[in-house]
Subunit: 377 residues, 2 copies
């Protein structure tokens, strides 16, 4: 995107609903003249378009302005443990085209990257594209050194911490590239797209693994070393100790994650390997599965209670594959949170299922590049 896109007025319209000239002027603290001038500039460049008029309050109704979604397109990539999703978005995060490809995180990252790059290239030239692609964002299931744009040093994604991921991808594609942890990006997308007024949000992703993203005062909380939100390996220590895939015992994941439920279901004779398999069994109503999911939800509820006590969010959202169990998962979380936290912290707290779909990670990734491309520095 061009220089003009760094106008804070454009950022405001990217993040929020259409606004009138006066609203923009007040939100940015500009004078009417300057606001109008900047609106003209953005409109003449095709960055924003007229949206409609507001209800009249006894006078001439105000025109509202919104971003032009077809000014540029964006690519969002979400690398999962087995599949990667690549989505072509317009710059309002509307889906234009999409592709899935299998990935093997234990394989050579160079090969995986090349496969991803080919798909990205193909999508950028898709007949459904509405503009040229301005950048690519990528969500990764690993701690990310956000400043450096690479996977943080010791990581589960073997070998990925060795390469300068952002520079490599950017050079290969000829596009600006931004990276972040997948849960962080899901959290950001969920908040920005579905709860724009919430300033303090905890997003729990319960899938094959468990993690959380946090927004405090409207800002994504990344922490000092890119490891924030690592709730999966908080010590839970209920009676039967379980070995976690991280090598420790008694982690939350080892009792409540999709892989742990699958492990327990396999022990009961089911053919079940990941969170998706668990949800299939759950949907079919297998009682053992329901029991395990309920138990999981209470364990996640225990951690949630700690998060609520520490962070005092106004919204706790549950996403990830296990959120497919819906109210059953929420029940366990609510039970523990209301049981353990102060009324003051819970009386106005909302506990909900994520409204975003499986594309949440890619949407967050696209929003991240967009944010960087429109950052005034």
């Amino acid at each position: 995107m061009d220089k003009i896109a760094r106008d804070p007025m454009y950022r405001l319209l990217l993040d929020g609903p259409p606004r009138s000239s006066r609203e923009l002027e007040q939100a940015l603290g500009l004078s009417r003249v300057t606001a109008a001038q900047r609106i003209r500039a953005l409109a003449s460049e095709g960055l924003i378009v007229e949206d409609g008029t507001m209800a009249s309050g006894g006078g001439r109704p105000a025109r509202t302005w919104r971003i032009n979604p077809h000014y540029r397109n964006l690519l969002g990539v979400d690398i999962g443990e087995e599949m990667a999703r690549v989505v072509l978005f317009d710059c309002g995060c509307g889906v234009l085209d999409e592709a899935l490809l299998p990935v093997d995180l234990r394989a050579d990252p160079a090969q995986t990257l090349e496969a991803l790059a080919r798909v990205a290239d193909r999508l950028a030239r898709s007949p459904k594209a509405t503009a040229k692609v301005a950048g690519l964002g990528m969500a990764l299931p690993a701690p990310i050194d956000y400043r450096q744009g690479r996977v943080a040093k010791p990581s589960v994604m073997h070998g990925w911490d060795q390469i300068d991921l952002r520079a490599l991808l950017s050079a290969r594609l000829g596009l600006p590239v931004a990276l972040d942890n997948d849960v962080n990006l899901m959290c950001m997308a969920e908040q920005r797209l579905h709860w724009p007024d919430a300033r303090h949000v905890v997003f729990i992703k319960a899938g094959t693994g468990i993690g959380c993203g946090m927004i405090t005062d409207g800002h994504l909380l990344r922490g000092a070393f890119g490891t924030s939100g690592d709730i999966g390996h908080i010590q839970h220590t209920p009676q039967p100790h379980q070995l976690c895939r991280c090598g420790k015992e008694g982690c939350v994941e080892a009792h409540a994650a999709g892989w742990a439920i699958a492990r327990d279901l396999r022990a009961l004779g089911h053919d079940c390997h990941d969170a998706r398999d668990v949800m299939q069994l759950y949907a079919r109503g297998a009682p053992e599965c329901r029991a395990l999911v309920n138990a999981s939800s209470r364990i996640i509820g225990t951690v949630s209670a700690d998060l609520v006590a520490v962070l005092s969010p106004e919204l706790l959202v549950l996403g990830g594959t296990l959120a497919g169990a819906g109210e059953a998962m929420l029940a366990g979380i609510r039970e523990r949170v209301y049981q353990r936290c102060l009324p003051l912290a819970t009386e106005r707290l909302q506990i909900c299922l994520a409204r975003g779909d499986a594309r949440l990670g890619t949407q967050g990734a696209a929003m991240l590049v967009r944010q960087i491309l429109t950052d005034p520095r």
Copy 2:
């Protein structure tokens, strides 16, 4: 403070070390001419003064500027469970005069406030005062509705949530007043005064009660309802359940707080009622006391590990009365944190004792009003 004090240049000098014209210019993104002009304006108003010269790098050495601590004075109040401390500061947070007064939080808040106001008035007219008082900050051992400037609704400070604390005090004293939770303010003061480069800090206050303050990305994390940092009532559940003063069982406080240790020591025949008594016994080397303090430190370490996993701070500071046990407290915290957290989260994490003294709360309070008085809005 006057209008000119809202200059971001002044705020920069308030928070940081003395700087040269060039450093100010770069930090604020101004041109040399404008920076010099603003420096002149601030200096002529008496807000800043010349500090000295920097080391020469082969040319004329740069002059450095610092705030004039005697431009205005500030009052900081820290209300504890039994005592309140009122300190008169210069606007660099240097101590000028000080007073302690007993308070009873169960008494009528109006009486306590009047007693406080009298002390504040007296200090403002103290012979040690160097300038007129610009505002008063207050630290309270309760969740605070920061926006409203009052104690959040259901509170342990009975009756205090009924009154418009900020407005009342402000009217009584004829001064701008700001309030916040005591642990938040201690956290802020500790970071700003002693770890200015740390952007992600967890401050644990272990005293008669237990709580924590958090700074993420340089900003104090207050949460949505003023209850953030409530780690004292996280469920700990080791074997012998203990009734907490909050009415629940198995809270961290019920096992690790000063009041809980005092309770256990009383059961062993010691005359011990609060954290200070515990530290006296500890200093005298009572073995039961040492054992209990060690156990407490491990419990606090357990919560600390959760905080480190979730927030990924670069610095974890222990303050409060129990921090008087020094390395013994740190040992238990370090043990649990290193045992339970990812190496990535701990390898560069510092775990230290607070450097601030008993005036930390009042310093934070003074910094809070100062921050508000110099906020450009």
